[in-house]
Symmetry: C2
Subunit: 416 residues, 2 copies
Amino acid sequence: MANIAVLGYGVVGSGVVEVIKKNENSISIKAKEKVVVKKILDVRDFADSPDRDLITKNADEIFNDDSISVIAETIGGIGVAYEFTKRALMGKKSVVTSNKELVATHGPELLKMAKENGVHYLFEASVGGGIPIIRPLNQCLAANEIHGVTGILNGTTNYILTQMKKEGKDFEVALKGAQQNGYAEANPTADVEGHDACRKIAILSSIAYNEFVDYRNIYTEGITKITLTDMQYAEAMGSVIKLIALSKRVGDKLFARVSPAMIDKEHPLATVEDVFNAIVVKGDAIGEAMFYGRGAGKLPTASAVVADIIDAVKHVDTSERYIWERKENTSVIDIGDSETKFFVRVIARSKAEAKNFINTTFGEVNFITVNKAELEEEIAFVTSKSKEKDLKAGIDKLKGIGSIKQVVSVIRVEED
Amino acid sequence: MANIAVLGYGVVGSGVVEVIKKNENSISIKAKEKVVVKKILDVRDFADSPDRDLITKNADEIFNDDSISVIAETIGGIGVAYEFTKRALMGKKSVVTSNKELVATHGPELLKMAKENGVHYLFEASVGGGIPIIRPLNQCLAANEIHGVTGILNGTTNYILTQMKKEGKDFEVALKGAQQNGYAEANPTADVEGHDACRKIAILSSIAYNEFVDYRNIYTEGITKITLTDMQYAEAMGSVIKLIALSKRVGDKLFARVSPAMIDKEHPLATVEDVFNAIVVKGDAIGEAMFYGRGAGKLPTASAVVADIIDAVKHVDTSERYIWERKENTSVIDIGDSETKFFVRVIARSKAEAKNFINTTFGEVNFITVNKAELEEEIAFVTSKSKEKDLKAGIDKLKGIGSIKQVVSVIRVEED
């Protein structure tokens, strides 16, 4: 029998307990021994919960119990979750988690600690909710050199962008709807500013390229400035706007970025809507593979946590462990040195003059038009592919000339 | 060092050798020891191949070589491949394969033999080419009760149907094009009649439901009767026609089927085009997850074979093995007892009379019209959901009445 403890009886933690109970038989067969939740740690009272007898407020009851071999950390954050994870690993208990922030911040230390103590630190649920992606990247695509990872990794922002596109709601209205439906938190910053997606692409990249990619080196931009007008232009270009998290090899360096981007309607990510997530992986042998599903939610996320529990139980002495080394100098190139195309929208005082200036500044551009009376003063165009810093210098020039009243939007156009 | 032998130096076999050579370093890191192809078995001459020194026509050189621990069987078929696989397993060598026919036919015996000899029989490459699906089903979704698996599992037929839809080619022309492009074989029966997809859904189902599903119990229908007119009706219904392989739990029984089906354009499989494959898995915790990628081809398939080689090398003494029991009585319910909707197209002598008869025979139906002069004599409709045997009895009745000249098409409408 394998005894499990769950730290944190919130949405994911209670889901983990529910899934283990519900599928007890099949889980025990897969794990090759009975898997039982012995204790749940939470400081709150749950007098009405069916699990109330398992809940304790005293962490010692768990950490001092040698019969507990695996801990599911579903507390979140990098405070007490960090302390508990270290204590568990030092006490030779494997830890499985959905905590992307902790993995992205302290992954190298925790993986090393797990290895030194002969246990596991597993985090399939930290990216893509229930979508199997960490294990496939690490095992199923092991024969490949991974060239790039591109994903829609945040369900909240994808829901908002879908609502804007399909229902014609503007950002603020769509955000409010997401909050009312429980898809966005009261303080939505981590989602809408891209921080959540940033942690996730950092974790995926660390697995894909087998070196620790620090999320603090990843350029991150949210969706708060995206407007319905931008979406009309995207439509005219045969594209959609998505919050795209990507990383790729560039020579012996890496590049990673989180930002809104226009992607072609034929792109496999273009049809990923609502709260769904999807990740496209490019490998030298496989070409492209995509993984799609619910990126959040109680049971999908619990499904991934429990898969890790089964793995930790099953391979208790034997499984491989990987190590992420922190490098002195990051391999992540600066956003300014990355290549991209910009979609740019300006309000012109004089259209002819402004177009002239745009052409001399950016060389060949594609002008985009949409039929709307109120947009008559606008000029929109897509640049050719260049270094971001050169494009940004061009944008700065636009801002300084008299024939242009305002630069309204600058959105990347992603072709990979 | 792990010595590998490859049986069959065809498309997939030569791809396996290529991938192992190309990504030697990263593969060795993942496998935790150097992975080397020591011998290749093929009866043909390859005087110009860079691998010619490794190629032998004498199987004994491989089977009697105790230093070879893993065999990649990429011969295909159930003749010599079966004999070699048994010989390898009995000789305590793990076998990894892309051979869906052998797995679907002799899987139970071979898995048992592998277990008895303490080695592996792995077949990630047998379904979905390079798409990771067997391992995710078995490991990543281990916390789930799987309710159903629905997929586009054959690239050739998906290419043909895509060409019909997008280019307006009829079946024969599209098939010829597929043959010219190397996507279909000179004898295309196994693909276009659905036999290939049938083997694959049998394997996926055996993994998903943890019991051997014999492909001979799976109703299988190919795409040869699908016409451009059927596609026009599908379009009018907001659907597309795909060759759908599916299985699902029905109470304590199973149902499995391969057939063309109309699926809604919003269905995640609807946008899977050309030679791509995709598999949707439904589990009680995860909801829906989809896996998408290249379902065939030299390097994608080799990528999956090599992932299995790495697993076999890494877990050489330790990994779990599953067993498929052959049951006396199949759990697969008869196609007649399954529930479905039919799209039916008939040519009427008298439209009013025929419609009357249709309504009295099938109860509530939805009549579908498309605007084409030459279809004026046609009536097309979609039945409500009923048992197939009842629907088929209804179709037989239609064939017997005077107001209907001919029943032209009967295609399932799939809503799951």
